[in-house]
């Protein structure tokens, strides 16, 4: 058994294939669970019961919905631009998959002499890769809105352009202090070269200070974390920023003209993106898979980091759901004001302040 696994993970190609299948399976099961989780939590917050029929506690509800959508007739309206119309759901899914691939979801496992990282691929430009892929997500929505040849989807698509790019600028600014802080952390030992690799960022958050406070970046970078979370909610088009698919204003927004499995892909992509941004926030600010294993035997202890990762991610996802159940939708001008007049100036000011403090720590005072 061990020898077979070692042979597989020793080979670059087979290792890539196995990791792809495993990461994919995790992502899919997790998304099915997440949809159920959201519906159930929102239901309890609204004093309802929520889905509880399909499977134990309704856990199979999403699967049932998926099978239903799979067998539904798909209506292709006459006025669509067919090529773009069919490409848009695919363009929504692929960036969502690729973002999850660079997130480390557990501690590297050693099998024999081979170390297997629990991560699709450990890119050295991980953070930039994530920003690039989340920029691609806007294309699917704009394409879907435009290619439908209909009024409501067009409005949704146009809203998406300005909303998603505005908050992406804020998101990028919120991540700069993280990279800066990581480069200073590294510089304590060796030459000051920073990192954007997500697995390195997790390793840098190891340890604790004063014995009980974990060394997570969020304790130094709280403003960044808040800006990132607000931008993340807007970036995934979730309430209270769900103007792109505001059902009480523009029917369904960009996916009004989509039905059956094509709609299911947009729906899945939204939930995968939601999970992705929470997982990024956990990895970058909340210590990723780090957590105590309570001295369990090694047979179980290897699973503890995965448990911690999922636990932290679902804590953030609970906040997403909570926001949806609590806040009313914003007006478009309020959305733009928040983005450009609050978040971006706040992000820039925090960046300057943090840079100056860090420079003071590593270069010393300019007057000395």
């Amino acid at each position: 058994m061990t020898a077979v696994l070692e042979a597989i993970f020793g080979n670059a190609f087979w290792s890539a294939v196995v990791k792809t299948v495993v990461v994919f399976a995790i992502l899919m099961v997790n998304t099915l669970f997440l949809v159920w989780f959201e519906r159930r939590v929102v239901a309890f917050m609204q004093n309802r019961i929520g889905p509880n029929r399909a499977g134990p506690m309704g856990l199979l509800q999403t699967l049932a919905d998926g099978i239903k959508l799979f067998f539904k007739e798909q209506i292709t309206p006459r006025k669509v631009e067919l090529g773009m119309y069919l490409a848009a759901p695919v363009a929504a899914m692929i960036p969502a998959f690729l973002i999850f691939m660079v997130i480390p979801f557990g501690e590297p496992i050693t099998i024999g002499n081979t170390v297997v990282t629990l991560q699709g691929a450990d890119l050295n430009v991980g953070l930039l890769f994530i920003l690039a892929m989340s920029s691609l997500a806007v294309y699917s929505i704009v394409l879907a809105g435009w290619a439908s040849g209909s009024k409501y989807p067009l409005l949704g698509g146009v809203r998406a352009t300005a909303q998603m790019i505005s908050y992406e600028a804020a998101m990028g600014l919120a991540l700069v202090p993280v990279v800066l802080f990581a480069s200073i952390q590294i510089a304590d030992g060796s030459v000051g070269v920073g990192t954007m690799s997500l697995s390195r960022l997790v390793e840098l958050q190891q340890g604790s200070f004063r014995g009980f406070i974990p060394g997570w970046f969020v304790f130094w970078l709280l403003p960044s974390f808040i800006i990132f979370m607000i931008a993340a909610v807007a970036e995934t088009n979730r309430a209270p920023f769900d103007l792109v698919e505001a059902e009480s204003e523009i029917v369904g927004g960009y996916h009004t003209e989509y039905s059956g499995i094509r709609f299911a892909f947009f729906f899945l992509a939204e939930y995968i993106n939601m999970f992705n941004v929470s997982a990024i926030a956990v990895t970058v600010f909340l210590g990723g898979w780090l957590g105590p294993d309570f001295g369990l035997p090694s047979g179980i202890a290897w699973a503890m980091p995965i448990m911690w990762f999922l636990l932290k991610t679902y804590a953030l996802l609970f906040i997403f759901v909570w926001l949806r159940a609590t806040l009313p939708r914003m007006r478009y001008d309020q959305l733009m004001t928040l983005g450009w007049k609050r978040l971006i100036p706040a992000g820039l000011a925090w960046l300057i302040l943090f840079t100056l403090v860090q420079a003071f720590r590593s270069f010393g005072a300019p007057w000395s």
Binding site: A12, A16, T20, F24, F70, Q74, I75, T76, P77, R78, P89, V90, M93, I94, F97, L98, M101, G120, A121, L123, L131, W146, S148, G149, S150, K151, L154, V158, T161, A162, I165, S166, E168, A169, G172, L173, V176, P177, V179, L180, S183, I184, V191, G192, V193, G194, T195, V251, E257, G260, R262, F265, D333, M336, W340, K341, L348, I352, T355, F363
Partner: protein, 122 residues
């Protein structure tokens, strides 16, 4: 160097697998689902009435202005990430340079706000 490419092999395998999964499920669904198109059914949706006019319309220029502003801030990210990684090695010079750069950007944003470009009501 090989390790560098190995990572991107995984990225390529993953992207291909994702595209394959979407293609297979769309294809399988096309074989299994019913298909009874009719003229009424394939009308563009407009709250139940016959669609009036075309599906595309003019959009306000405001959206375009935000896209232009975004370009400036995105190009900034291109400069600022490499700087953040190398700050320790580059030293005081890079620090002063970047602060000047960020202050110029902030001045541009303040200018845009004062000009009323970011106001949604006109």
């Amino acid at each position: 160097m090989t390790g560098y490419f190995e990572d991107y092999i995984t990225v390529a395998v993953f992207a291909a697998f994702g595209a394959l999964l979407v293609a297979v499920s769309v294809g399988a669904s096309a074989l299994l689902r019913p298909k009874n198109p009719s003229a009424t059914k394939s009308q563009t949706y407009e709250c139940g009435i016959d669609p009036v006019g075309g599906g595309w319309s003019q959009t306000h220029v405001r959206y375009y202005i935000f896209a232009l502003l975004f370009l400036i801030f995105d190009v900034e990210a291109v400069f600022i990430f490499p700087w953040a990684i190398q700050l320790e090695a580059l030293g005081m010079f890079a620090l002063v340079e970047m602060i000047v750069f960020i202050v110029i950007l902030l001045a541009g944003l303040v200018y845009a706000v004062r000009k009323g470009v970011l106001e949604w009501e006109s």
